[in-house]
């Protein structure tokens, strides 16, 4: 793949991220279901990792993580490292354990969201912010509502994946 191909490919992926970001930040948080809004940006990182593998998953996860830390309130850098690692993990799982399809993406997304909310639960337990049942309830609702959006997010990035050069070499 030439340098130009590389730039076009990731430029298109970045463009595909825009509607996901728009929906999460401006649209879906206005209409919460069961008191929660879905997390879409992590789903985008996981979808690309499942389709493209570990290296691209790590790179895209890094980019999405930086975006999350920039647009989310109270950034601490955790999303940058977290999504990069989850990108590697989802890429590895899709290469060796699950298939590179919607079912694989659903499983990887579920694991990724559970990891993100697991860390949040631990952090809140350590600071004594709330009791475990409250935190589990919030995380459960958030993960369940977010999982509904795996299909459209995966479909969007699959559409992009089928139209860009396949081999990513950094």
């Amino acid at each position: 793949m030439t340098r130009q191909d590389f730039l076009i490919k990731w430029g298109v992926y970045a463009l595909a991220l825009l509607p996901v970001w728009f929906c999460e930040v401006f649209l879906l948080n206005r209409f919460p279901l069961f008191g929660v809004a879905p997390m879409l940006l992590p789903l985008a990182a996981i979808a690309v990792a499942v389709l493209e593998g570990t290296v691209a998953g790590a790179g895209f996860g890094l980019g999405v993580g930086i975006l999350c830390d920039a647009v989310y309130f109270n950034p601490d850098g955790a999303m940058t490292v977290g999504l990069c690692l989850l990108g590697v993990g989802a890429g590895a799982l899709s290469q060796y354990v699950v298939r590179q399809n919607l079912v694989g993406c659903l499983l990887c997304s579920l694991l990724a969201l559970a990891c993100i909310d697991g860390v949040r639960i631990l952090a809140n337990l350590l600071t004594g912010a709330a009791a475990l049942p409250v935190l589990l309830s919030l995380a459960g609702r958030e993960i369940a509502w977010s999982m509904v959006f795996v299909l459209p997010v995966y479909a969007l990035f699959l559409w992009v994946f089928r139209r860009v050069p396949k081999k990513t070499v950094l």
């Binding site: 948080n29 290296v55 309130f73 070499v169």
Partner: protein, 281 residues
Amino acid sequence: MKDFFRHNGILILIAAILVALITAVVSMLLGGIANPFANLAGIISTPVRNGISAVTNWVEERYSDAFEQEQLKDELEALKQENAELKAKEREYDAALQENERLRNALDLRPKERSFDQLESAMVTARSTSNWESSITLSKGSSMGIEVDDCVVDEYWNLVGVVAEVGENWCTVRTLIDANIEMGGQLVRTGGAAILEGDLALMGEGKLKLSYLPENSQLMSGDLVITSGRGGVYPSGLVAGHVEEVRTDASGMTEYAVIVPETDLDNLQQVLVIKDFNIVE
């Protein structure tokens, strides 16, 4: 995983760790002032947010015009009746105020003063993206003199929240139901002081709690709670909400009151930031 180690995967991980460390350290050092990444993202996205906010507000207004006329008529009738009652009360208050002023003069007390000279009007351009906190983003920032810990109120002087992060042309406000909010509260009917604090379990319901209730406090549903202003950081007398019910905490030892905010956090469009205040009680 071979590909990962062959093709600079480790370098990406190292870059991620470095970026995260820089973000964490800079955020910690700046203490409420947005870090460079967040500030840049905010500056770039503020015009977009303003535009989207204007469009969604316009759509909501058209929807309201089209489908909520009956409800608006009922509300108008109720408000007319309330207005008549308030006018009658106002006449009583005027007499009481004059009496109060005469007594203050007689006792040579400093006159009461409440001035909020430095107010900044701002548009609400975005809402929380995380379910683990409650915040709103405003269209004004440090360039307009807004600082961390400035109080934010709606057009009826109901407390909305406190500025938590400031960028060049935007700021993020932690709303009063956020789990990290804590400030002095006061019950208007009894005068008892307590602590207004956010609670993760109540945040999803759009409520907060009033804890450390005064002993033998006989709270009633509907009791108004205002900010006490103790500590001098936040002004006193801002309406936070009203008591919905009193509950006992998990230990069964202490009670707290569930407070419903007076402000409508879901439909805020314009707010006022109190940049400076002077209150003499």
